[in-house]
Symmetry: C2
């Protein structure tokens, strides 16, 4: 049986509407609109209509807000990578699972993934995020190489280039995909996989 | 026989090393590094080691520098689109020509295309650039639709989505492609077309 919890109101200590979650959402939106460097804690407090010390009650710094936000995206991507590592079967099928899962993370956590993909590396948090992105990219490239070794991926393109093109396409979704416009995450993942694995061109016998 | 020209030095009026061309190159690099909004004419004059009035000798404003820079990219893309409009043949072949040509423009004019793709629309110049981008995107989408009508492109994906995925991949090249790293423009265009038109997967009979 669940333990009784104090009402949320008490936890928020009289700051209506802003817990860490909603603070993070607003901060991420601002970072995406104005750039991380271009957004001050002052801007954020004005946008939220609360004092800076009310923000510092939740997080020690702007960098920490950035870390929490980009980790939402990175943790999602690495959960998918962990699933794929544990999967049996051919590398090409595991690569397809990785692409579908990554599109899912992008759709579900669009503002966080957008922020992650725009990070440029001026602070420790940004450099750490870039290092985790590179680790993910290496994982993709290894999977492409393995699928090529298994004879399932065309050998006439450098596997590093194939991996970059594949996830270049996935990442480019942040530029135009908006959940409100009708295409849902599964349809989108389907379209991405059809085009990148099998191509746009109609062939005899398909 | 060519007409005798006054020596370049005289044209530059004693400002060694900076004609409009090199000014535009440096400005574009700065805009890409710091963002257009985040770069002042003061920053630019400091970077160039010349006075602001020496810059104003070449261009009337920062906006005009931006316009010249993004037009380099847009003019290149529309030249390719014009070639494609004048081409005979099936839409799928013309689409492939458009993709190859666009990759070529991106490779040849990388800093200008990078700037174009990061424009967000706060000023008239930016809004004009976004309007031309949308015009180009509509041209791509129409070509995809025509190729689908001709039975050459798979009909199981919304042609607008196919067009966005295709050029999403092309545009994503700015994130990682560097001419110094060995892959040249033609190889890159080849890889992009192989993956998007025919897919990564090895099929029996290929």
């Amino acid at each position: 049986m669940p333990t009784a919890q104090p009402p949320t109101k008490a936890v928020r200590r009289g700051r209506p509407g802003y817990d860490l979650e909603s603070l993070l959402q607003v901060a991420t939106r601002l970072f995406n609109e104005r750039g991380y460097d271009g957004t001050s804690m002052e801007d954020l407090s004005r946008k939220l209509g609360i004092t800076k010390s009310a923000i510092y009650h939740h997080v020690p710094s702007k960098q920490e807000l950035l870390r929490l936000a980009v980790d939402r995206a990175l943790d999602g991507l690495f959960e998918v990578a962990d699933q794929v590592e544990a999967m049996p079967g051919r590398a090409i099928d595991r690569l397809e699972h990785l692409v579908r899962g990554s599109v899912g993370v992008l759709v579900d956590r669009l503002p966080y993934v957008t922020l992650l993909l725009r990070v440029r590396g001026n602070t420790k948090v940004e450099r750490d995020a870039l290092a985790r992105r590179r680790e993910f990219d290496r994982f993709v490239a290894e999977l492409v190489k393995q699928a090529e070794t298994e004879g399932d991926i065309r050998p006439d393109i450098d596997p590093n280039v194939t991996a970059r093109l594949l996830f270049g396409l996935v990442n480019s979704l942040i530029e135009w995909y908006r959940p409100s416009r009708g295409t849902d995450g599964a349809e989108l993942a389907d379209a991405v996989c059809k085009i990148t694995f099998d191509g746009m061109r109609v062939r005899n016998g398909r």
